[in-house]
Each structure stands twice: as structure tokens, then as C-alpha cells.
Symmetry: C2
Subunit: 213 residues, 2 copies
């Protein structure tokens, strides 16, 4: 059984990690392991949810897949020598090293995005560029020759993980997992991209982000 | 501050709970509380992920919003007298009592869907009908006069929670949260509904479900 390592850390964005988990957790021949600094609980950005780290980074040195979620806590992880060293080591042997949202900043801080196009949450392109990547606004950006896939903000990890399922198993598996999670999205509004919302909506995002970040 | 209570229980489907959590967690005037039988860890269906229950059902008797996720463990919760009693009590005062996926079966077992149309995961319509509801295949089914909203399988909780955000705050808030989670879905396949997939995909779903359920 090969390992899919999903990193957890304090003040992460839960959906960044759980979207890919839900898609990847049933693939035959793989198990999902949640890794972090120490086994035990980490809390999400606002503290409302605890998630359990089951293994230390160093306990999972050779995962087939790495998934790095984002969140306000990703800024601390960009300076976390243990996580960065683990990412560099794991990436040497991984089939795919991936990120969701500001998880891309951590891949960038580990030096894995140097000279590559990549994506992240729409509000963080400048920070991504500072790590040596060239930000683009695609929902999923893959560099199969470098075994690197980055996804845009939060919910995009679901789309990324479906594509990853096709790469790891086959297209039938990817479609089966899309059907299993009934991913037939019907967003009630057309507000998923900053270009398509009003100034009032952008202002509200700024207010809500300020309260809890 | 009003409470949004999200139920957790052993062998739940994580994304059913975390999709709505991610959308609802920033709304001004609300806090999210994860409730369950006892404080402490519960594990998802395959055991790969631990999530933390912070409060007993009885500790949150008067939430403004109730969210019941699904998963294989929802069958046990349909017979859990404490959860059912809590649901009935909480629903008396809630603004909205909601479910995602087979969480609808638990609402049904509590008697809350009697005579109403409702939805659940596409594989569970017969079980939902057995609780007295009339299953329909819409992604989100709302009965505002009964303060009941049910969502279809797994990922549909994101769509449901965006609509709920409009009801709780306003449309600007809902669009802001859609933009915050960059919910601009691009499923790489058209496989989100059982009518649109091949027999091979349906067969694969059966295989994958059998391994881990």
C-alpha cells in the first residue's frame, strides 16, 4: 500500500485538506495519512474545528502523493525548517507533490516551484511570485515533468484531486469518485472569481477575512 | 453570538461536514460548534481522519442552525436516541435544520421529514423514502415554512451552505463566501450524476464502496 500524505498544521483551511481527502481516500492500493509536526490535534484558522495529526513528517518519508493545504497558518509553515526539509525529501520520491490554496506558498518556500507556473488563492499571487513561481489564474496547474500540481483557492482541491485520481489510477476511477461525492456543482451565484463580483462583494470579503484572520 | 451546530459521529463522511463548515464559519454573529455524543475524537468511514467533537449534543440545546452530515455511520445515528431527541429539541427553536448526503436519513428518523420532499445521496433514495419523506433528485431541497433544507451527496453541502448564508445574512455575504473559497468549479469530467456515467463507472463505484464501507 502506497501512502498519500496530507499535511495538517495550526490555522489551516479545513476544506483545502478535506476536499482532496474525500476524493483520494478510496483509491485501491493507497492509504491516506495525515502528517504534521507532532501527533495530536491542530485547530483551523478560527479555532472552531480540531483535526488529528496521526504521524510526524519524518514518519512518512516516502509518500507517493503529497498534498499541502493552505490557510493563514501556511505563512508559519513557510519558515518551518522541518516541514520544508520533509517536503524536499518527500518530493524526491513522490509521484505527485501538490498544493491547494496558499499551500503553494509552502511548496514555493521549499524551492519546489522555482521557474514554474503555479496557482494559489486569488488573493495571494504576489506572495506566490516572491517564492520564484510565475502565478497564473488557472484552477489547476500541472507540471507532470516536474511531478508538481498546484490548485487555486480552497474548493479547487476537489477538482485537482479528481485529475490526480486519473493520473494515479485511471479515468474510470476519477469519474467513479466524482459520482461517489456527487460532484455535480450548482453554485447558486456566479461569484467564484474576483473578476465577476461587485465591489460590495469584494468589500465584504475584506471584512470577513479581517475578523477571523 | 448564535450557534451553528454541526454534528460529528463515528464513520461520518468528512466533506459532508467540512463543506458547510468552510462556508458558514466566517458569518458575523455566528460561531460554529462541532457536537456529538462525547467530546473527543471521531474517525471517518475508513478511519483515516480524526475530527474533534467539542460539545455534547445536550450542551448545545438551542442552535440557530443544525447541520447533519452523512456517511456509513448515519445508519447507527438513525437509532441513537440521544441524537434523535437532540434533533427534535433543537429543531423546535432553530432557524434552519439541515442535512447533507445520508444525514437526511437521520433527520427522517427523527420524524422531521414526514410528508416533505427531501434529497440525499443518489444511492439512498429508498432508505430516505422509508423515513416518510418523498425523495427528489434536486441538489438542494428547501422547505422554508418547515425550516428544513436537505442537500444531495457529499459535495452538495457547499451549494446548500451558500444558499443558507443568503438566508442567514444576505446575498452579498453568500457571494463573498463563494469568492473566499474560490468556488468556481471546473469538474474535469461530466460524471457527477448517475444518469450521465457509463456502466463501467457505476461498477467502479460499487467496487470502491464495498472495500471501505
Amino acid at each position: 500500500v502506497q501512502q498519500i500524505a496530507i499535511a495538517l498544521f495550526p490555522r489551516l483551511t479545513a476544506l483545502d485538506a478535506i476536499g482532496p481527502y474525500e476524493v483520494l481516500q478510496r483509491l485501491p492500493g493507497y492509504e491516506v495519512v495525515f502528517v504534521g509536526s507532532e501527533p495530536g490535534e491542530v485547530r483551523t484558522e478560527n479555532g472552531f474545528l480540531g483535526l488529528i495529526v496521526d504521524a510526524r513528517f519524518e514518519d512518512v518519508p516516502d509518500p507517493a502523493v503529497v498534498v499541502v493545504p493552505g490557510g493563514i497558518g501556511s505563512r508559519a509553515m513557510m519558515r518551518d525548517a522541518r516541514m520544508l526539509e520533509w517536503l524536499r525529501t518527500a518530493h524526491r520520491g513522490s509521484s505527485y507533490t501538490t498544493s491547494v490554496c496558499t499551500g503553494a506558498l509552502v511548496l514555493g518556500a521549499a524551492g519546489l516551484l522555482e521557474g514554474l507556473t503555479a496557482t494559489t488563492h486569488w488573493a495571494n499571487y504576489d506572495e506566490l511570485a516572491a517564492t520564484g513561481a510565475t502565478p497564473i489564474s488557472d484552477r489547476v496547474v500541472e507540471h507532470l515533468d516536474h511531478r508538481i500540481i498546484t490548485a487555486a483557492g480552497v474548493s479547487s482541491g476537489i477538482d485537482m484531486a479528481l485529475r490526480l485520481t486519473e493520473l494515479l489510477v485511471d479515468r474510470t476511477a476519477a469519474e467513479a469518485m466524482q459520482l461517489m461525492i456527487e460532484y455535480d456543482p450548482e453554485p447558486p451565484y456566479d461569484a467564484g472569481s474576483p473578476e465577476r463580483v461587485s465591489a460590495a462583494v469584494r468589500q465584504r470579503v475584506t471584512e470577513y477575512a479581517a475578523v477571523r484572520d
